[in-house]
Symmetry: C2
Subunit: 443 residues, 2 copies
C-alpha cells in the first residue's frame, strides 16, 4: 500500500477442519480423521506459505458450534495451534480469533505478545465479542451479555490490551551486564487502568513484541461492529453476497475512518470467498453439487435456526422461511442474520435451497469456476471497490487450498495483482501497514 508499489491483493487462508463446506468431511478428498493432528495444519500452513499468502486465519468459538453428530466439530484452540504453526513456518502471518466477552485483557494481551515473539512478528488478533448463549453458559452466565454492551466491553478490552503492549518501551531492555542493569525501569510502566469492566495495574510481563501490537482484525459487520472496526481494526473480515453489497460495505467502512483520525489505507476490507475450483466450469459445478448432495438437512436446519434466531425444526424443507424477527431483536451475529434473511428473500429460496446456498460459506460468497474465472472474480471485486483482498475459504481441505495456491495464485501474479515473493518479515509488513507507535512513551 505504499506509493511506490501498485496496489496488490491481500489473501488469507481461512483454515477450518476438513474445509468450509459443512459436508466437506464426508467428501473423499478430505481428511477429517486429522482435525486434531498438528501435522495436518502444519501442511496446510506450509501450503499457504508456498502460495505467499498473507496469513492463515483461525476462527473460534467457546462452545461446540453445532451438532457434532453431523459435522466434524471439536478441534484445536487457536493460540496454541498457531504457536505450533509458528515453529513450522517462516513468513506467513498467524491470525487467531479471541473473544473479548469471555477473556481477561491481561491474559489475552500476554498470549498475543508471546505469539508475536514466538513468530517473530507474525501474530494477528481477530477480535470478536461472541454470539451465543451456549458460550455464556460455559462461563457461569445463564444469559448472554447484550450486543451493545459486548462492544462496550470490547472497546475497553482493546484499550487495556494496547496499554499493556505499550507498557514496555521498545528499547527498555539495556542488558548492561557490567552495571547489573537489565532493563531501564523508567521505560517499563504500570498502566493503572481502572474502567467500567476492567482494573489492570500492569505492566505486562512480556517485553514489547516485534510488531508492537499484533495486527488487529475485526469481523463483525453490524452497526456496532463497523464503528468498532473504524476505530481499532486494521483489517476487517466480512461476509458479502454480491459485489454491490461489498462495494456499499467497503465505502461505508472506509468513510468512517476519518472521524477517528485514520486514513483509508489504514484498514483493509477482506470479504470471505469460498472458491469451488475445477479444471472446467462444469467440473467445478459438479464438485459443488457433490458437496450439496452430502449435506445432512437436519444439520443445516439447526445451523440456520441459530443464524436466524428462529427455531426451524420440523418445518418442511421444500417450503418457504417462516416469519423472521427484526435485526434489532437478534443478540447474536446481527449482520449475518440480515445477510441470510435478505438472501432468502431476494432469491425466494426454500429452506432446502437456502441450506444448500449456505453450505460452503455460511453466508460468505461462494464462487464455482476455473482458476481463470476465480481470478477474474477476485480481480473484479478488487478493482471495482469491493475489496482490498480476501479471506480464502476452501470448501474442502487440503485440496481446495492446494488448488488455489497452485492454480489461482499464479494467474493473479501474472496479472501483477499478487506478490511474487515475500518482501516483508511481519504480518503488518505483508499488509503494508505501519508498526504502531508506543502511546505511553514520554515525550
Amino acid at each position: 500500500m505504499t506509493a511506490s508499489r501498485p496496489r496488490q491483493l491481500h489473501l488469507n487462508a481461512f483454515l477450518l477442519i476438513a474445509g468450509h463446506h459443512d459436508a466437506a468431511w464426508r467428501h473423499p478428498r478430505t481428511e477429517p480423521d486429522r482435525i486434531v493432528d498438528r501435522r495436518y495444519f502444519q501442511q496446510l500452513a506450509q501450503t499457504a506459505e508456498r502460495g505467499l499468502l498473507d496469513s492463515v486465519f483461525l476462527a473460534d468459538g467457546l462452545a461446540l458450534w453445532g451438532n457434532a453428530r453431523h459435522n466434524a466439530l471439536g478441534g484445536f484452540e487457536p493460540l496454541t495451534l498457531l504457536s505450533a504453526l509458528a515453529a513450522a513456518t517462516e513468513r506467513i502471518g498467524l491470525i487467531a480469533t479471541v473473544s473479548t466477552t469471555f477473556n481477561e485483557p491481561f491474559h489475552t494481551a500476554r498470549k498475543f505478545a508471546s505469539l508475536d515473539h514466538i513468530s517473530e512478528g507474525r501474530a494477528g488478533w481477530n477480535i470478536v465479542t461472541s454470539g451465543t448463549v451456549q458460550e455464556a453458559r460455559n462461563f457461569g452466565q445463564d444469559t448472554h451479555l447484550e450486543h451493545r454492551l459486548r462492544y462496550e466491553r470490547a472497546r475497553e478490552f482493546v484499550e487495556v490490551a494496547t496499554k499493556l503492549w505499550d507498557s514496555w518501551e521498545d528499547d527498555a531492555i539495556l542488558l548492561d551486564r557490567e552495571r547489573g542493569v537489565y532493563a531501564d525501569t523508567d521505560r517499563v510502566r504500570e498502566i493503572e487502568h481502572r474502567g467500567e469492566y476492567f482494573g489492570v495495574q500492569g505492566p505486562l510481563n512480556v517485553p514489547r513484541s516485534p510488531q508492537g501490537y499484533p495486527l488487529l482484525v475485526q469481523a463483525g459487520s453490524s452497526e456496532d461492529g463497523k464503528e468498532f472496526a473504524a476505530q481499532y481494526a486494521e483489517a476487517v473480515f466480512t461476509a458479502q453476497q454480491t459485489l454491490a453489497d461489498a462495494q456499499a460495505f467497503y465505502k461505508d467502512l472506509k468513510s468512517r475512518l476519518a472521524r477517528y483520525g485514520r486514513t483509508e489505507d489504514q484498514l483493509l476490507v477482506l470479504p470471505g470467498i469460498a472458491p469451488v475450483i475445477g479444471s472446467s466450469e462444469a467440473e467445478a459445478r459438479a464438485l459443488e453439487q457433490e458437496l450439496t448432495e452430502l449435506q445432512v438437512p437436519e444439520y443445516g436446519l439447526a445451523q440456520l435456526s441459530g443464524m436466524l434466531g428462529t427455531d426451524l425444526t420440523g418445518l418442511p424443507l421444500d417450503g418457504p422461511l417462516p416469519e423472521l424477527p427484526e435485526e434489532r431483536d437478534i443478540n447474536g451475529n446481527k449482520s449475518r442474520f440480515t445477510l441470510v434473511a435478505e438472501l432468502a428473500r431476494r432469491d425466494n429460496l426454500t429452506l432446502r435451497e437456502l441450506i444448500a446456498r449456505l453450505g460452503a460459506g455460511r453466508g460468505h460468497h461462494v464462487f464455482a469456476g476455473t482458476p481463470e474465472q476465480v481470478a477474474d472474480h477476485l480481480e473484479e471485486w478488487f478493482t471495482e471497490g469491493g475489496a482490498d483482498g480476501f479471506n480464502i475459504m476452501p470448501p474442502h481441505l487440503p485440496g481446495g487450498l492446494e488448488n488455489f495456491v497452485d492454480h489461482v495464485v499464479p494467474i493473479l501474479q501474472q496479472r501483477g495483482l499478487f506478490r511474487t515473493e515475500y518482501t516483508g518479515r511481519t504480518l503488518r509488513e505483508h499488509y503494508g501497514l505501519r508498526r504502531p507507535a508506543n502511546r505511553l512513551t514520554s515525550a
Copy 2:
C-alpha cells in the same frame, strides 16, 4: 514404576530465562538477549530431549516477578511457548504452570487438551493458586484471595476441568461418512457443573486428548497444598533444603494418598535441585562464587522481602534478619516462607549470606560439584526415600543444562538409575503413570 522394571529416576528440565541463578544473565556463559527468542527455547528443549529427560517445565506468574532493573524478567507465556516447542521436539513432556485463581476452567481445560493433541500426549499442567497481590491487581482485584479459599477454588477448578476432559468419550468420533454421522453424540456430554465458583455447561469443544487429562502437577508444599496434591496431583515439585526435610516431606505426602483411594506409586515427589557443575569440585565452587559475586544485593533484598512477607529495604546486609511473621499470617507461598525462615535461623545467616544462598535456587536445594558428585547426590536422595526424581534447575543456561545432559545423565544411566531410551510416547508413560479412565462414561 511397573513391577517389571527397576525403579528409575524421573528428571525434568526446569527452564527459566538465562538460568535459575538470579545473576545468571550477567554471566558470560548465558544468552539473556535470547529470552524472547523461540529458537533459544527450542534448543534447550532439544538438549533436554537428547538427554532423554521426562519433560521441560515452565513456571509462571501473572505479573512481573521482581524488579526488571536487576534481572532478566519478562518472557514467553508458557502455553504458547510449549505449543511451539511441541512442534520442535518429538518425545519430551511439556509442563506448563497455569493458575486456578485467575483463569476460567473452560479456557484452561481447552488449552491443555489442545496442547495434548498438538504434542501427541506430552502435556502437563502445574496447578498453582498464585501467590501475590501484584497478580490480583492485574485482574481487577485490590486484595489477594485468601490462601485457603484459593485452594477451595483450585479444587473446584480441577473438578470442572476433569469433567470437561471427560465430556468426550475416547471413541465418540465415528467418522461414518456413508451415514453422515461424525460423532456419537450419546458419547459427548454436557457436564452441567454448578458450583461455588464456577458454572460450566460443557461439553468441551475439543475431543478427548491422547492422555485423557494432561499430567496433573502441583507445587505448593503448605498444608493446603499437600492435601490438594494428595487428592489430585500425579507429580509434586517441591523445595527441600536437606535430605532429612525431603524424607519427611516424601513420607508425609505419600501417607496422605490412601485417604483418597490412591496408591503411593500414583504420585511422584520431585524436589528441585540447582546443580552447579564443574569438572572438578574446585571449578564448581568457583563458578558458584562467580555467580554470587554478580548478585545485585538490592534485587536479592527485594525478592527476600517478598518471600518473607516483610519489608527488608534499608536493613544492613551484614546484619541478622529482623523479627518475622508466623506462617499463618502469610498469604503468599506459605511453605517457601517457612523454608527460608528456617534456613536463616538454622545456619544463623546474615541477610547477605541468605541472599547468596537463595541466589541459585530461590529456596530449592543447591549442590555444587563434579558430575560424579551430582550423580551421587541425586542417587542418595532417590534411594534414601527423599525423591522419585528431580526438577533440574540449571543455574545458567544453556551451558548448565548441556553439562547435566552430557556429563551427569550418562553416569546415572551407567548406574541403571535412568532410562537409556524413551520407551513411552506420552508424558504419563515416561512417568510410569496410567492414563485416567473417563469418569463420565456410562456403564
